[in-house]
């Protein structure tokens, strides 16, 4: 997660010349940013450089990243949503698909390419809040006052997301991740009522495509059993729950991705190695995509990232 952004100096250098929207919106630049981490580190896969808020843009909201995130108009009810002029996903998001094709051509057959989208609850939450939020006041007002409309909004996002993910498969994505970053803020009851059915609609919409789906919630521990019901192939796990505990609760064959605390990358290399090996020991490396439990944070040293990747590789060698 967040392979490129926030940490690599070569990314920072590009950001000095281009806005975030320019980087994302220009296929050659987005492909370049996607490939940067693979030139520096021996990674197994590239994650396309994009953002989950491309779907609100396709649905007709103006999405701005400079000077604080903004989505306008914020959706406070059916009238706001009806006022949007959406565009066909294939047209509006052609730049992401073009970037995927460029990266796929560069990667060769040895490396995987991961696409992604936001899960409907998380995307709709941004659409309602009109940006980031600490209190989710607008979201929870709408969710509890107009649950029927909120469900319609979730399903509209879900349908656009299905279309978008299928286009990503066609453009060469080998697997896709669905990020439900905000769903961990919900009570178990509200998760089942709102986030789960919408995420399941996405999973069902792409079923049969043959492309594996990874479903990630930041704070999945409290809704683990419910989250498993969407029918994803792989469960992305944050660091607040151990991987053996996930398998104890979901079954020994559950395929997991994660879950080292990204904060551990601030530790000395030997401590990073110790903890990464302990994580891999805990699953035996079987049915387990080694990863962090959330995105990289600003200030994480490159040596920490390198130590983590080296530790994954050295464990593999020791194991072999």
């Amino acid at each position: 997660m967040r392979q490129a952004g926030r940490t690599l100096p070569e990314y920072m250098a590009l950001r000095e010349q281009h806005s975030f929207l320019e980087l994302m919106g220009t296929p050659e630049l987005a492909a370049e940013v996607t490939l940067q981490p693979l030139r520096r580190f021996p990674l197994d896969a590239a994650v396309i450089f994009s953002d989950i808020l491309v779907i609100p843009a396709a649905l007709g909201q103006a999405v701005g990243f400079e000077g604080g995130l903004s989505l306008s108009p914020a959706i406070s009810g059916p009238a706001d949503f009806a006022s949007l002029s959406g565009s066909p996903v294939a047209e509006k998001l052609a730049h992401v698909l073009a970037a995927l094709k460029l990266v796929r051509a560069e990667l060769g057959s040895e490396k995987a390419l991961l696409g992604f989208a936001g899960a409907p609850f998380t995307v709709a939450s941004y659409m309602v809040e009109g940006g980031s939020s600490k209190s989710y006041a607008r979201l929870k007002s709408l969710m509890y006052r107009e649950p029927e409309f909120f469900r319609e909004l979730l399903f509209a996002v879900a349908d656009a997301t299905v279309e978008y993910l299928k286009l990503q498969f066609d453009a060469g994505a080998d697997a896709v991740q669905l990020f439900d970053s905000w769903a961990g803020e919900l009570s178990p009851e509200d998760y089942r009522e709102f986030a789960l059915p919408a995420a399941r609609r996405v999973a069902e919409g792409i079923r049969g495509s043959g492309v594996p789906l990874i479903y990630f919630i930041n704070g999945i521990g409290n809704v683990l059993e419910s989250a498993s019901e969407i029918g994803a192939d792989i469960i992305g796990v944050d660091w607040r729950i151990s991987l053996p505990e996930v398998r104890r609760r979901l079954g020994a064959d559950t395929v997991v991705q994660g879950n080292l605390d990204p904060g551990v990358l601030f530790a000395p290399p030997e401590e990073i190695t110790r903890r990464t090996h302990a994580m891999l020991d805990s699953t035996g490396g079987r049915g387990h995509i080694a990863n962090l439990g959330h995105g990289l944070m600003p200030g994480i040293p490159l040596t920490g990232i390198g130590a983590f990747i080296d530790a994954v590789i050295s464990w593999r060698r020791e194991d072999a």
Copy 2:
């Protein structure tokens, strides 16, 4: 939680005349703010108006609330901590104790008075970050690079907290809450390694006082069994886990406080009533202190707060 702050107009009016530090630092004003919610709502208990960061102040950090929270010097290692000139808790925090006495005298025997403190991990985290944080970069750097010193810091905070809580009992607190607001950000392993032993040191330090201890973690679900080991009398629960699930995991006799999502107070009154009654039905109201699952947020309407309190009372009547 946060009975007074952020929402009541009579509190806002006082804040226009006085800074947060003035309100907290002047016993008559702090007592007034503590009593404001009880004049407006039929509450069973008052929560003393104070802040968990009085302990860093007693330990010698300069704590500022205006223009963003700041604690200085931020503790980046043993030298910073050694450089602090701490004061005796009874002296430095005499204003809180005086406010407790004033409120206790006003309340009469029908209403309870709750004191509180931050749990050592959460308080030490603020001391290390020097303020609020989104990434906990300084905290995690220190925790993983100098675990021995970080443990010393945690225990120093724990010892000052024990002293402070005992003084709160003497000043009339009927129960005390220990807030481990940040501990939910830790992996289960790190929770056991750092936060748990320090919180247990506080619980053991006040054992035998006869004053019940409520232990709250925001995001307790992932570390519930570990958290129960500190030996608190009551477990404060956020809304991300259901109360029956807490009792299923900790035992049917576990006394709980919580746990309605404060965001529900944005809902229409009938929905607030429905969810509050469902929460009380789920425990049968036995061994359960009805409360929110976290603090009030700015923008929550007074009618929502009133509807929640009315729903607790009406459930009681229906039950009787």
